[in-house]
C-alpha cells in the first residue's frame, strides 16, 4: 500500500506536534517547552486583550518601511551599477567589504544617530536589506542576454527604452530573488533590534514572556513572528507571480515551490 504524496508531506510536522503535545501533557517535557495547545491558549489570551494587535502593528510598521526603503534603494542603485560601469566600480568594493558584516553591529551607532524610537530600527533594517538586493540587481543586469540589448539597439531603441523595456523586464526574476533575500534580512534585523532595546513590538512580547517565566507567552510571540515572516514571503511571491506572469512557467523553482 502506498501513502499518497500529499499525506506524506504532513507526516513529519504532525508527528512532531503530536509527540510534543503528548509528552507535554504527560509532564515529560521541560518547562520551557509548553505543549502546543497551551501556546494556542496563550495566543488567544494576548489576542483577546489587544496586546497582540498592538505588537503586530508596531513590528509590521518597522519591518515594512525598512524593507521598502532598503529594497527600493538597493534595486535602484543595483540597476545603476549594472548599467553604468562608474557606479559599479564605486559600489563594488564597499559592498563586498560590508556584505559579510552583520549589520546589527551598527546598532550602537544607529541608536545614537536615530534615537531609541522607530527610526533607528527602520534605518537599520533598510541598511541591511540594501546589500543583498544591490548584489542581486547588479548581477541581474549584467546577466541579461546581450543579444536582447543588441537587438533593441539595432531596432533603434533609445537608451532609456532599452533600459525600461528590455533590461528591467529581463532582470525582473533576479530582482525578486534579491528582494526575497532582503526580506529575510529584514526580519532577522527586526528581531535582533527589538530584542536589544525597543518598546513595543513582537520582540519585547517574547522577552517579557521569557522574563516572567510565561513560556507559553514566549512561544506565542515566537509563533507570531514566524508566521509573520512566512506570510511576508508568501505575499512577495504572490506579487512576483502577478508581475512575472509568463516568466516562471517551466522553471525548476516553480516546480518545487
Amino acid at each position: 500500500m502506498r501513502i499518497p504524496t500529499a499525506v506524506q508531506h504532513w507526516i513529519v510536522p504532525i508527528v512532531v506536534v503530536a509527540a510534543w503535545e503528548g509528552f507535554g501533557r504527560a509532564g515529560m517535557m521541560p518547562r520551557y517547552l509548553p505543549a502546543p495547545t497551551l501556546i494556542v491558549g496563550a495566543l488567544y489570551e494576548v489576542a483577546a486583550d489587544g496586546e497582540l494587535a498592538r505588537a503586530l502593528a508596531t513590528s509590521l510598521y518597522r519591518v515594512a518601511l525598512g524593507f521598502v526603503l532598503g529594497t527600493g534603494a538597493g534595486t535602484l542603485v543595483g540597476l545603476g551599477a549594472g548599467t553604468v560601469p562608474g557606479i559599479r566600480h564605486f559600489f563594488d568594493p564597499l559592498v563586498s567589504f560590508l556584505y559579510a558584516v552583520p549589520k546589527i553591529a551598527f546598532l550602537p551607532v544607529f541608536l545614537l544617530l536615530f534615537g531609541l524610537g522607530h527610526e533607528s530600527k527602520i534605518a537599520l533594517i533598510a541598511f541591511s536589506c540594501f546589500f543583498p538586493v544591490f548584489i542581486a540587481s547588479r548581477h541581474a543586469v549584467l546577466a541579461v542576454d546581450k543579444h536582447l540589448i543588441w537587438t533593441a539597439h539595432n531596432m533603434g531603441a533609445a537608451r532609456a527604452a532599452t533600459f525600461f523595456r528590455v533590461i528591467v523586464p529581463a532582470a525582473a526574476p533576479q530582482l525578486f530573488a534579491g528582494a526575497r533575500i532582503g526580506l529575510a534580512h529584514a526580519f532577522i534585523l527586526l528581531f535582533a533590534a527589538e530584542l536589544m532595546g525597543a518598546r513595543g513590538g513582537i520582540g519585547p512580547l517574547i522577552s517579557e514572556g521569557e522574563d516572567a517565566g510565561r513560556f507559553d507567552l514566549m512561544f506565542a510571540g515566537i509563533v507570531t513572528f514566524a508566521v509573520l515572516g512566512f506570510l511576508g514571503d508568501r505575499i512577495l511571491m504572490a506579487i512576483r507571480g502577478l508581475v512575472l506572469r509568463g516568466q516562471m512557467i517551466g522553471t525548476l523553482e516553480q516546480a518545487v515551490r
Binding site: F90, F97, V109, L112, A184, I206, I222, G229, F230, V256
Partner: protein
C-alpha cells in the same frame, strides 16, 4: 600602467570613503564621539590587537561560526542528495525545508538558549540551523537540475553505479553545492555575532555590544573592520576552493 589604472578604478571608493570620513571628522561636521577619526579607530584596532583582546574574541567568533557552518555542510549536502534520490525522503522533508525556508528562525533563538545553554553550544546549534536551510535547498536544487541525459549517457557507456555517482552526479551538483555554501558562510558569521550581541561574555558580538554601551565607538568600528576583513577573506577562500574544485566552470557570474 593600464593595469594600475584599472586597479585604481576598481578599488578607489574605499580610500575615498575613508578620506571623506576623516574630512567630516576633522572639519567638525559630525560629532566626533559618534564618528571617531580614523586615527582613533586605528589606534583602538592596534591597541586591542596587541593586547590580545581582539584576536581572542575573533578566534572565539570564528571557531563558533566554523563549527556551525561545517556541521551544516557535512550533514546538509548528503541529506540534499538523499532528498534528490529518494521520493519518500523528499516527500517527508521537502515541505519542512521549502515552507520553513522563509520562516525567520531567529525567533527560535531564545528556545535554543534554554535547550543548549547560553554558551557556545546554543550559538553553534543555531548557526547550524540557519546554515542548513540554504545549504540543503541549494544543493537539492543542484542535484535535481542534473540533466538526466548525462546519467543515461554514462549508463549507456557501461559505467557502474559508483562511477556514475562519483564522476557524473557529484561533479554536476558541485556548482549548486558551492552556491549554497557561499550563501551560508556569511550567514554563519552574522548569526554568531548577532547571538553574541544578544547575550554572551565572549566573542566579537559581545565586544561590540559592550563597547557600544560604553560609548567607545572607535572600538565598535575596529570590530566591524575585523569582521568585514574576516568575511571578505573567507568568501574569497571559498571562491578559490570553488574554482579549484569546479575547474571546468568558466562562469563570469561566479566571480
Amino acid at each position: 600602467m593600464a593595469r594600475l589604472a584599472r586597479q585604481i578604478e576598481r578599488w578607489y571608493s574605499i580610500p575615498l570613503l575613508l578620506l571623506v570620513w576623516q574630512a567630516a571628522v576633522s572639519s567638525g561636521l559630525v560629532e566626533s564621539r559618534l564618528l571617531p577619526g580614523l586615527g582613533r579607530v586605528a589606534a583602538a584596532l592596534l591597541r586591542d590587537t596587541s593586547a590580545g583582546v581582539l584576536p581572542y574574541h575573533t578566534a572565539i567568533t570564528l571557531a563558533r561560526a566554523a563549527a556551525g557552518f561545517a556541521l551544516a555542510a557535512c550533514l546538509g549536502v548528503p541529506f540534499a542528495a538523499a532528498m534528490a534520490r529518494s521520493a519518500l525522503i523528499r516527500n517527508l522533508f521537502e515541505p519542512i525545508f521549502f515552507f520553513g525556508y522563509p520562516v525567520p528562525k531567529i525567533a527560535l533563538f531564545p528556545v535554543f538558549t534554554y535547550v543548549f545553554g547560553i554558551g557556545s553550544p546554543s550559538k553553534i546549534a543555531f548557526a547550524f540551523l540557519e546554515c542548513l536551510y540554504p545549504i540543503v535547498v541549494t544543493a537539492y536544487l543542484g542535484f535535481r537540475a542534473i540533466p538526466i541525459r548525462l546519467i543515461w549517457s554514462a549508463e549507456n557507456m557501461g559505467a557502474p553505479r559508483r562511477t556514475i555517482v562519483g564522476r557524473v552526479i557529484v561533479p554536476a551538483a558541485m556548482p549548486g553545492i558551492f552556491n549554497g555554501l557561499r550563501i551560508a558562510l556569511p550567514i554563519a558569521i552574522v548569526v554568531i555575532v548577532l547571538t553574541e550581541m544578544i547575550g554572551d561574555s565572549r566573542g566579537l558580538g559581545y565586544y561590540i555590544a559592550i563597547s557600544g554601551t560604553r560609548f567607545e565607538f572607535a572600538n565598535v568600528y575596529a570590530a566591524i573592520l575585523v569582521i568585514g576583513a574576516c568575511g571578505f577573506v573567507l568568501d574569497r577562500g571559498l571562491l578559490r576552493l570553488r574554482r579549484a574544485v569546479v575547474h571546468w566552470e568558466r562562469d563570469a557570474d561566479a566571480r
